[in-house]
């Protein structure tokens, strides 16, 4: 064992009893008891690619920022000082992917910033952080609030539930129960919404976001209301092939979409430039934690790069397996699976820069045998628009 086993009971989402009653195979994920799958991971994966799938993501950490007598500019200034991507210019309704880095430019977390409208033209902000980093980030942000008097941070993770409804049929199935037009909503925007179910009306937030590479939605509602929406969407979509999906399919879907996962592609020893996330780093005209290290990293052509690999055989590269060019070790796999969509093994890996070009022929050391692979463009899968 590499870590001391925790004796604390696992946290449960408001849908936990539903998962247990519907065959969810429950595992410890970042201290939460979560369903890794209900049946076949491949079937859940395919449902999201061809119809839609429903995920409980209530374990994701959610922090809300407030200020009693201010329009939100000070909250924006605070977040701008701790995030790699500009926040001050965000408009109400926008959602932005960003990173939290330490002074050395190492990635502490990857997050979504939600900017919501507030009283007469003001703004309010929330962060969605990884479950595994929730406490770390909360305690890292807390002392940094001292320079922004009046800005308050609340952890609402256990107060509100969050579900993701993802796939090509998700919009048509969600539309009848929300009081706004989903079609015109752009990717990475959010809105307050009322969900109208046969027996109740629920106030919440809907965003056009997700972690699957498909069109899709994430819905945040009070804990007590989530099961009604969950069951409604499953029932409404059952004839179309909509099913509940676990973390197993979430992982294979995000891997095909080449979305990094904290603890695998991202950690405190990796900077956003290596990770291929330069788009989420705004260096110009602003100061934030890690800026000088990231400016140096951005100018460094000689660092490992995150790449995609596909393999010819059937054996699956797993996290930690070495990537080789002939006899030379040139990198390591961070995530791998058998891609249900491409029907071959795929992996994300960090390799030295001279081996990172698309088309480079390499091999993965799979338990002592070099299995041929090649560098391919990311993402592995892109939805047809």
């Amino acid at each position: 064992m590499t870590e001391a086993a925790s004796t604390a009971p696992l946290a449960q989402t408001p849908l936990h009893a539903w998962h247990a009653a519907h065959g969810g195979r429950l595992v410890d994920f970042a201290g939460w008891s979560m369903p890794v799958q209900y049946g076949s991971i491949a079937a859940e994966h395919t449902a999201v690619r061809t119809a839609a799938g429903l995920f409980d993501v209530s374990h994701m950490g959610r922090f809300r920022f407030n200020h009693l007598d201010e329009d939100g500019s000070l909250i924006a200034a605070f977040l701008d000082s701790v995030l790699t991507r500009r926040v001050t210019d965000m408009k109400a309704g926008q959602v932005r992917y960003s990173l939290v880095c330490n002074e050395d430019g190492g990635i502490l977390d990857d997050v979504l910033v939600y900017c919501a409208p507030y009283d007469g033209g003001g703004r309010r902000f929330s962060l969605v952080v990884n479950a595994s980093n929730r406490e770390k980030i909360f305690h890292w942000l807390q002392p940094r609030l001292d320079d922004f008097p009046g800005v308050l941070m609340e952890d609402l993770t256990t107060v509100f539930a969050m579900i993701a409804f993802q796939g090509p049929k998700s919009r048509a199935l969600l539309q009848p129960i929300v009081d706004l037009q989903l079609g015109p909503m752009k990717y990475y925007t959010s809105a307050f919404a009322q969900f109208a179910l046969p027996h109740n009306r629920i106030d919440g937030v809907v965003s056009r976001t997700g972690y699957t590479g498909e069109d899709g939605w994430e819905i945040i509602v009070p804990n007590r209301d989530v099961q009604a929406i969950w069951e409604y969407l499953l029932a409404a979509g059952s004839s179309e092939g909509v099913i509940a999906c676990g973390l197993g399919a979430r992982d294979t879907l995000r891997l095909e979409a080449a979305m990094p996962l904290y603890g695998h592609e991202l950690n405190e020893q990796i900077n956003p430039i290596e990770a291929g996330l330069k788009f989420a780093v705004n260096l110009d005209g602003r100061e934030f934690v890690g800026r000088s290290a990231l400016a140096a990293a951005a100018a460094n052509d000689n660092q490992p790069q995150r790449v995609g690999l596909t393999l010819d055989g059937k054996r699956v590269p797993r996290e930690g397996y070495g990537v080789v060019s002939g006899a030379r070790n040139c990198g390591a796999v961070t995530s791998g699976t058998f891609s249900p969509t491409l029907n071959c093994p795929i992996a994300m890996a960090y390799v030295e820069p001279e081996f990172a070009a698309v088309g480079t022929e390499l091999a993965v050391d799979i338990r002592g045998k070099a299995e041929p692979c090649r560098v391919v463009p990311l993402p592995f899968y892109k939805k047809s628009s």
Partner: protein
């Protein structure tokens, strides 16, 4: 073959011994295959390979993870069910028949005493689920 007629290793392999030829047929239990789900690959040893109890002779891979397959006994591989690689569905549809993996000609009786009856194996599986 019914599981009641078989012996089971703690590592989830089943074994059927033909006393006349001293040859054991080995496969994976339905419980193990159910736990794996989404099989993508199975690698089996070549005929002639020598095995001993607890030694890995192959591997089975699912979308989620890879697992070793261990020999319950000591001997030499006399048959390897190579066509399974293209018919992984047979593992689940008929784990104790068409889903067999290898046949092993026993060198001695090592390992046989460690094997569980189906009833005892089921108890072990019930414990693993908790």
């Amino acid at each position: 073959m019914q599981p009641e007629q078989l012996k089971f290793a703690k590592t989830h392999e089943w074994l059927h011994l033909d006393p006349a030829t001293k040859t054991a047929t080995v496969g994976l239990s339905a419980f193990a295959l159910e736990a794996l789900t989404d099989l993508v690959y199975v690698e089996l040893p070549k005929v002639g390979v020598k095995v001993s109890p607890g030694q890995s002779f192959g591997e089975i891979e699912s979308v989620k993870a890879v697992s070793d397959i261990y020999s319950p006994v000591s001997g030499e591989i006399t048959a390897s069910h190579g066509e399974l690689a293209d018919h992984l569905d047979k593992l689940k549809s008929d784990p104790y028949g068409e889903g067999w993996l290898v046949k092993i000609k026993l060198a001695d009786e090592a390992g046989l005493g460690e094997l569980l009856s189906y009833g005892d194996y089921q108890k072990q599986c019930a414990e693993e689920q908790h």
